[in-house]
Amino acid sequence: MIEVASFRNRLERLGSTVTSQVWRLGYASRFLAYLVLHSGTALRRFRLTVAEIYFAGVLSLVIILVSGLFVGMVLALQGYETLQRFGASESLGVLVALSLVRELGPVVAGLLFASRAGSAITAEIGLMKATEQISAMEMMAVDPIARVVAPRFWGGVISMPLLAALFSAAGIFGGYLVGVQLIGVDAGAFWSQMQAAVDLRNDILNGVIKSVVFGVAVTWISVFEGYDAVPTAEGVSRATTRTVVTSSLAILALDFVLTALMFTGGNS
């Protein structure tokens, strides 16, 4: 009898967790809609958004470029090992470029962005809430979502595709450094095979679309978690953790969906 009761309790708790998450998603969607509708201030007073592009984009440059460079270098090293066994080492450029442009650029840059800029945005908004700065703004008849949240949202959305492109470019350069300069693959073959294999529309454009989608998802999650945080020190820290975890999972899940839509299919 007691086992049944506790089992039932666990089922109930599972059910309520699921429903509360679904409810939260609905709340977050309304938040996003409100945010977008009230983005007038962020666009009219573009200075605010520019400051946020600085905090989200420029301050992430170092980690993005360095990580991109290393990822490209590792791709070249690992790729050469395998390709060389099939006598296809001249396709190294193709391997590095396609991997980066289609997948690693948007995804890894997105993950890095979520953990660096996303968590910073969440912490900032959460702390403003905890120190009553948000309430103070409301009391002064200024809509905090328009003034504080919207510029951060658009700053993140604008920064993300640029960061992903920079990641891919840095990676290709790193691949070139290792492949051509270090290992000795022919430079001409490296670049020409790459150009023949990487399609502007199919690969690069799709990569850009992915990075835009990831940018929207990550920044949405970051600003929402910050705004919804419990206004205590513990609450803010939990919100920051949730931002990083949820953003990372969202990126990986969206990546699967987008890749399936974009890169598979019949004769085309």
Binding site: R47, V50, A51, I53, Y54, G57, V58, L61, A97, V101, S159, P161, L162, L163, A165, L166, S168, A169, I172, W191, M194, Q195, A196, V198, D199, L200, N202, D203, I204, V208, N267, S268
Partner: protein, 157 residues
């Protein structure tokens, strides 16, 4: 960090970001190909297109002269109709042969055009009459076995 420094760095960031995108588009991708060129379209029928895909290359003498635009199935002749867009700079005679070839041994498949000798050139909407289908591995193997069996019979005679 005062306002003008922030503006400066954001400007630098956006410019460098776009430069990266352009770098990817030009040096990495194949922007320097057919998107803006003038083209004309011809089509050809094949018994078997093998692994040919839309946007696959159309080459002549190894040089890319066009792209596969569309692949459809003709329910009257039960053959594949391949539509190709060819760069206007390259004119081909009416008796050109279109073959489906493979790059390397196991690479991607493309349409190879071998020019004939006719004086009249192909125009927009024309059909390439002489075609050769893709080589299907199974047919090749069964043909090989059949030949081997026929040889064996000849020897016994």
């Amino acid at each position: 960090m005062n306002r003008s420094m922030i503006d400066l760095w954001v400007g630098v960031f956006v410019v460098v970001g776009f430069a990266a995108l352009i770098f990817l588009a030009l040096k990495v991708g194949n922007l320097a190909s057919f998107s803006t060129d003038q083209t004309y379209q011809v089509h050809a029928k094949f018994a078997n297109i093998g692994g040919l895909k839309v946007r696959g290359p159309v080459k002549s003498a190894g040089v890319v002269v066009g792209r596969v635009a569309d692949i459809r199935f003709d329910t009257e002749s039960y053959e594949a109709i391949v539509a190709m867009t060819i760069n206007l700079d390259y004119q081909f005679p009416r008796d050109t042969t279109a073959k489906i070839l493979t790059s390397g041994i196991l690479g991607e498949q493309y349409v190879g055009l071998e020019a004939g000798g006719d004086g009249v050139m192909l125009k927009q909407g024309d059909r390439v009459r002489l075609t050769q289908s893709a080589v299907v591995l199974e047919n090749l193997i069964s043909q090989f076995l059949f030949n081997k069996a026929a040889e064996g019979k000849d020897e016994k005679k």
